[in-house]
Symmetry: C2
């Protein structure tokens, strides 16, 4: 069961510049940064609010680390902007299986590692009205911040 | 001060079909519907979670009601997908003035009427890393649902 907007993923060419824009314009601070080599991204998580399911909502700023990453290809085609949205769930495996059974393509056979030790999968945007949609189960005890490069 | 992700605005060609997708795929129910003649949209708000500032986060599904609306033009260019993101604040007037003073273009001189009696304004996407960004102050007592066409 999807119980929160977990994050909005925003693709950018220059992570440091984009972090500074969100800090100076809105006062949003970096909660966590990491590099996800598998996804080919360097990312910053900005925590915006906590949510009624015990989680939180973030902006996830994404800069590609290599030209063959999906985010690099997306940026080359679309320019900077909202890349995906993510819903939080306590059970990404169960929800992914349920959603797959309804005919929506789930991009991974098994959830993979996402931000802050979470487990994630993606749904095909062509099956979701043009919206690349991620499902996230946070790691136990996640949400306390830190920088893990 | 922006204190929550208020909503994610998703543009679609067929609101009823898109509402049904979100209901049948994820179990998200319609919390509110309305037509905003000024914006030229018919919309459905799906409440996803409540937020730590006393507000809530929604998906806002948007179908244009006329061909000259900004959402209709956006759909013709981009196809269906995420149209904008919105941050909630207790003081849209003050925050818009503050953000304008930093050189970000604010699209309205004064906030206009948004969903559920809220007051809203938009920031120019070219000044926000490609992200059309809305600021929202909810109406007093908003968030109790209902259908106001």
């Amino acid at each position: 069961m999807l119980t929160r907007i977990d994050h909005i993923g925003i693709a950018c060419f220059d992570l440091d510049k984009t972090v500074e824009f969100y800090r100076s314009t809105y006062g949003f601070e970096v909660f966590h940064t990491e590099v996800n080599e598998e996804q080919g991204v360097r990312e910053a998580m900005l925590k915006i609010n906590e949510t009624s399911d015990g989680g939180a909502s973030y902006l996830q700023l994404l800069e590609p680390t290599r030209e063959d990453s999906t985010v690099a290809k997306w940026l080359a085609k679309n320019g900077e902007g909202v890349h995906h949205i993510a819903f939080g769930t306590a059970d990404v495996d169960g929800d992914a299986a349920d959603i797959r059974s309804k005919g929506v393509r789930v991009l991974y056979d098994e959830p993979r590692r996402g931000s802050m030790g979470s487990r994630i999968t993606f749904l095909h945007p062509k099956d979701c009205g043009g919206v690349l949609t991620e499902l996230v189960t946070a790691a136990p005890g996640a949400g306390h911040g830190g920088t893990h490069e």
